[in-house]
């Protein structure tokens, strides 16, 4: 196992009051994996990252790297590098000097420093810009310098603290692919902090979703999206609809939840909620199919179109159900179809495979 966080807690004390920023987090990160800490502002993800880096000491628990306890090692002795949100490039040094900064401290021979710096500049695609100062580079180029400066140290762990948050949407997309490419090429264990779930989904081997200092769920991007363990995760990752009810059958493949407000029972996958307990069926907007059919079918609900938006590749509906709740649904394959009317009756279908149940 590459990096292990054993039950770490961080409490900040100020003016006599305690603020628990990280609350008993346990996490095992395999060597060479890219793990993303995902969560809203203030959920403790950056504090966790700073404890791994050594900039903050845990109040409880320990940090282990390849079996060695590094909890109390200073940051410069951990063999960990970090890409900062603001890039933290030294403004008075050129690209080359920025990248070579850490190597020079290591007292490596001048030729080796030059060779490794050049290799890293090539890897991040900045050849020809070696002599430029950070203020003469674009945001994306600055990000690449920051990445090169971290990679050149050949760290055991590479930390990313919201590295793309200062870039525009298009650049963010290309840079995250670039980061993933380089991370896979170098196979460095990486911990990536972001509040952007799309970013997390696209680059991670493992996503750790955090809220109020605690881990709400960890799993592959597919797992956390398809099989969220609680409402927070379901809601935080992508758009979601909840259908409230009571579990009638607990079965991971063929469960049943009864909704009293909709006067219907639904087939769904229910691995988590015991019979008789409040349950929520999680259905993603794209899991619905819509039709004008009137016939009652299993896993179908009738509703009224409140509004819709045409978004090029698809239509996004807001549909009001008989119990007053609102469903968000997407409809693709729009060619040669007529646009719906507001107030029109629609029937929404979903398959049991696309209906996941969580505790209510």
């Amino acid at each position: 196992m590459g990096l292990v966080l054993e039950n770490i807690t961080k409490i900040f004390r100020s003016d006599g009051s305690d603020m628990r920023a990280v609350d008993h987090i346990a996490l095992e990160i395999p060597s060479g994996a890219l793990v993303t800490l995902l969560g809203p502002s203030g959920c403790g993800k950056t504090t966790t990252l700073r404890m791994i880096a050594g900039f903050e000491l845990p109040t409880e628990g320990s940090v282990r790297l390849e079996g060695e306890d590094i909890t109390f090692l200073p940051p410069n002795q951990r063999n960990i590098s970090m890409v900062f949100q603001s890039y933290a490039l030294f403004p008075h040094l050129s690209v080359e000097e920025n990248v070579a900064f850490g190597l020079k401290i290591k007292h490596i021979s001048r030729d080796t420093v030059r060779k490794e710096t050049r290799e890293m500049i090539d890897l991040v695609g900045l050849r020809g810009l070696e002599k430029r100062r950070p203020d003469q580079l674009s945001g994306g180029q600055q990000q690449r310098v920051a990445l090169a400066r971290s990679l050149v140290m050949k760290p055991k762990v590479l930390l990313f603290d919201e590295p793309l948050s200062n870039l525009d949407a298009k650049l963010r997309e290309s840079m995250r692919l670039e980061i993933r490419r380089i991370q896979q090429e170098t196979a460095i264990t990486s911990v990536y902090v972001t509040h952007d779930q799309v970013e997390a989904m696209s680059i991670s081997d493992l996503i750790v979703i955090m809220e109020k200092g605690k881990i709400m769920q960890k799993g592959s991007p597919f797992e956390v999206y398809i099989r969220p363990e609680n409402a927070f995760v379901a809601d935080f990752i992508g758009k979601v609809n909840f259908i409230e009810g009571v579990a009638d059958k607990q079965d991971p493949e063929s469960g049943i939840v009864v909704s009293s407000s909709l006067k219907k029972s639904f087939n769904c996958r229910n691995a988590l909620v015991e019979k008789g307990r409040p349950a929520r069926i999680v259905v993603r907007p794209e899991a619905f199919s819509l039709s004008n059919a009137r016939n009652e079918e299993l896993n179908s609900i009738a509703g009224t179109v409140l509004s819709y938006s045409f978004l090029g590749s698809h239509l996004e509906y807001i549909v009001k159900l008989p119990d007053g709740s609102v469903i968000n649904a997407l409809e693709y394959n729009l060619s040669e179809r007529q646009l719906p009317r507001v107030g029109e009756e629609k029937r929404l279908f979903f398959s049991k495979e696309n209906a996941w149940t969580i505790p209510g």
């Binding site: 880096a53 940051p75 900062f84 933290a88 490039l89 030294f90 008075h92």
Partner: protein
């Protein structure tokens, strides 16, 4: 784009600005023209602003009457030494007070800033007693050592250092740099404007120092230029032309210094938000 004010606004505005500029610079201009006047023209009636002819002999006369060369050297040596020492000690202290976490740090800073409120005249006698007991009277040491660091310089640099993003320091730390390395390779190079500003303030203050050398030095070998100039004033005669010629000469090093550092100086003032 900013709109240029109309002529009706600009003309009176320029007149006001030029008038203020002339009023502010009048003593300086008067000093310059007096340096070229004949002694009889200085207080002639009716008063004459410009001399009949520009007399350069006042400069030679002033230099003959007092050991100007020695005094100028002493002032330059003392002002540069104090400036260099303050650069070292103030920046170390400012770094500690801005970046290192230790118990009592804020209290130390508060006391330090508090000393700015104490007028130098109040500390003159105690300081004299201390240096006298240390046997430092009549030496360069007495002019330099008590001023090796200053609360104002520490305050100015501390404020500037606080503005340097902490992430830069953390980036250097994680790359393996220690505190000393960070100080010399990151903090100091990024603080050039503040360092130049502090240097200029310090140099001018010590170049113009009058009271302390007057009190602590009686040997002309160590005397400084401002005290030297006062020698043109005596109980029965004041040689205004010599005095002004000598004063004009003392301004030259400051103008040269300012010429070289003005860009960084203005930047330092605007960044630190401090002016003296």
């Amino acid at each position: 784009m900013r709109k240029i004010p109309s002529l009706w606004i600009r003309v009176p505005l320029y007149i006001v600005i030029i008038t203020i500029m002339l009023l502010v610079n009048l003593p300086f201009i008067w000093m310059l023209v007096t340096a070229f006047k004949h002694e009889s023209e200085v207080f002639s009636l009716p008063p004459r602003f410009y001399p009949d002819f520009f007399d350069f002999r006042n400069f030679a006369g002033a230099m003959e009457q007092i050991p100007m060369g020695r005094y100028l050297f002493n002032s330059l040596f003392v002002a540069l030494s104090v400036t260099l020492l303050q650069l070292v000690f103030n920046s170390f202290a400012a770094y500690g007070l801005s970046r290192l976490r230790f118990k009592g740090r804020d209290l130390i800073f508060l006391i330090l800033v508090g000393t700015l409120m104490v007028p130098p005249e109040v500390t003159l006698v105690p300081l004299y007693i201390i240096v006298k007991n240390l046997g430092m009277i009549d030496s360069y040491r007495v002019l330099i050592i008590p001023f090796m660091s200053s609360a104002f310089g520490i305050f100015l640099l501390r404020q500037f250092f606080l503005g340097i993003p902490r992430e830069l320091e953390e980036a250097a730390i994680i790359d393996g740099a220690g505190r000393v390395k960070i100080f010399f390779t990151i903090i100091l190079p990024l603080s050039k404007p503040a360092l130049w500003t502090m240097s200029l303030f310090t140099f001018i203050a010590h170049w113009n120092e009058y009271m302390w050398p007057l009190v602590s030095v009686s040997d002309p070998k160590y005397q400084m230029i401002q005290v030297g100039i006062s020698q043109f004033v005596s109980g029965w005669e004041t040689r205004w032309t010599y005095r002004m010629a000598a004063s004009a000469l003392t301004v030259v090093p400051i103008i040269i210094f300012f010429f070289f550092v003005q860009k960084q100086f203005v930047e330092g003032i605007s960044v630190s938000g401090i002016k003296e």
